[in-house]
């Protein structure tokens, strides 16, 4: 088996349909929608289309967990012993088990919410962060950016479950949140250890994380206002080892991503 499996070769059964993130970003409806008040984007049971939005997001979480599992698995395989420390690969193997459980939980939660595997399309941009050939950059992209996003998503879903008095959703999201905090800590720890004597490599890794964080902000999907469906979970991010300055930076990156996406959408629509 070859090292480094590209995104296009991820194996799926016939239920899964892949979408392109550009289709969503360049959708002309985005700019038109931005001028309207369709209510707070943050999810709650009394907000428009709450059920369908939560189902769609849960399916996104499910396919994201598959990709996180695949990314952690590839890190076990792609790097020889002299490229990635034995203990790092053990941590990634542990993460495989966690992500595998998260897939199982997400499948059960999807059933609980009435949806089916493959009902919504899958975008594989999360796995793309796990394709970096430098293990330090890959770990930073996956364990700090992707898993950081997972903290934000799970916390938002947990709050949605609480607002709807849904005990099953609230219970499961809280457990998954605990795992994600561990994964982010793991990423921060390895970044520090592997770049202790190589500040240039550390800066490259952090720059890669900024790029990934910007992509993961999905043009306003994540942020800190009511206009963002997914809220930056500062409290849990702090538990995972992110400093206030790092959280401020991610919030700023999210604001930039939202502004840029809106500009692109307006350009696509021909709006001045």
């Amino acid at each position: 088996m070859k090292k480094m499996l590209p995104e296009a070769e991820l194996a799926r059964d016939e239920r899964f349909v892949r979408s392109r993130i550009e289709d969503a970003i360049f959708d002309p409806r985005g700019a038109r929608l931005a001028t309207r008040n369709v209510g707070p984007a943050k999810m709650a049971a009394d907000r428009p289309a709450a059920a369908e939005r939560s189902r769609s997001l849960m399916h996104g979480i499910f396919v994201g967990e598959i990709q996180a599992l695949e990314g952690a698995g590839r890190t076990c395989f792609d790097f020889d012993d002299d490229e990635a420390p034995f203990q790092l690969k053990l941590d990634m193997a542990r993460q495989c088990w966690d992500e595998s459980r998260h897939c199982e939980i997400s499948i059960k939660l999807g059933e609980h919410m009435g949806s089916e595997i493959g009902e919504y399309s899958e975008s594989t941009f999360l796995y793309a962060a796990a394709c970096n050939p430098d293990p330090v950059l890959r770990l930073t992209g996956v364990n700090r950016a992707l898993e950081g996003l997972a903290i934000d998503v799970f916390n938002s879903m947990k709050e949605f479950g609480e607002s709807a008095n849904d005990p099953i959703l609230t219970f499961c999201e809280d457990w998954m949140l605990a795992d994600e905090v561990t994964h982010v800590k793991m990423g921060s720890d390895w970044l520090r250890r592997l770049t202790e004597k190589d500040p240039e490599r550390r800066e490259r890794a952090l720059e890669f994380q900024r790029t990934v964080d910007k992509i993961f902000s999905l043009g306003g999907f994540r942020g800190e206002s009511e206009e963002n469906p997914i809220q930056l979970a500062r409290r849990f991010r702090e538990l995972a080892g992110f400093t206030d300055a790092e959280n401020d930076e991610i919030a700023e990156i999210a604001r930039q991503a939202q502004a840029e996406a809106q500009a692109m959408s307006e350009a696509a629509q021909g709006v001045d």
């Binding site: 088996m1 194996a11 792609d78 595998s100």
Partner: protein
């Protein structure tokens, strides 16, 4: 303070001091075990992205950790066996075994799930169970007790993982053509592992029964 003097070994404790393995022999085998567990968890992790069957994907994700944990157990045991550089002992038993493992790890295509699973669950894991069981039965139950404890933990996983893999295979092999594929794959790999002598090389299961006169 006084109390009734009791024998240091309870009447039902029948453990004996002698065992078949010296410190060096136990360390050599543990080094082989660590090497094979590493190659196994790496490939299981790598395969996750290449199998389209969702249930297989999730089981491989879980088993990846099991074998990584076994590798960690053996990694920690090596310094306790006077091997202060665990990497030095983390070796395959011979070149034939390397060829066997390379063949096990070779399949990549999405349609090769049966070939992937047969290699691990019908050839490699049964060999691991056999070698671990032999070590468990042959080594001193007192002097090498820490290895025995790790072997028991590992064997518990191996039995359960073998069962998971075998059941996946039985559910995937649903036509005579797929059965032929599975059998051919197993025969190919059995020949390779036979040439190597097993996961700890010749003697993985002890001396030949004819030689020992039993």
């Amino acid at each position: 303070m006084s109390g009734t003097a009791r024998a240091p070994f309870a009447p039902w404790d029948r453990r004996e001091l002698p065992g078949l393995f010296s410190v060096e022999e136990s360390a050599r085998r543990v080094g082989n075990y660590k090497w094979v567990e590493m190659r196994l968890f790496e490939v299981l992790g790598g395969w996750v992205a290449t199998v389209p069957e969702l249930d297989v994907k999730l089981v491989l994700g879980r088993h990846t950790y099991h074998h990584a944990w076994h590798a960690e157990l053996w990694h920690k045991r090596l310094p306790e066996l006077r091997e202060m550089n665990p990497d030095r002992m983390t070796q395959p038993p011979n070149d034939e075994f390397v060829r066997f493992i390379e063949a096990v790890r070779e399949p990549e295509a999405a349609e090769d799930t049966i070939e992937k699973l047969v290699g691990v669950y019908r050839v490699l894991i049964p060999r691991k169970i056999a070698a671990y069981t032999y070590h468990l039965n042959a080594t001193s139950r007192i002097t090498d007790a820490p290895t025995i404890r790790s072997l028991k933990f590992a064997l518990q996983d191996e039995f359960e993982d073998w069962r998971d893999g075998e059941m996946l295979l039985q559910s995937l092999i649903d036509t005579p053509e797929k059965l032929d594929r599975a059998m051919a794959r197993q025969a190919e790999l059995e020949a390779l592992v036979l040439a190597s002598g097993g996961i700890a090389g010749p003697g993985s299961l002890g001396a030949d029964a004819k030689e020992s006169g039993r």
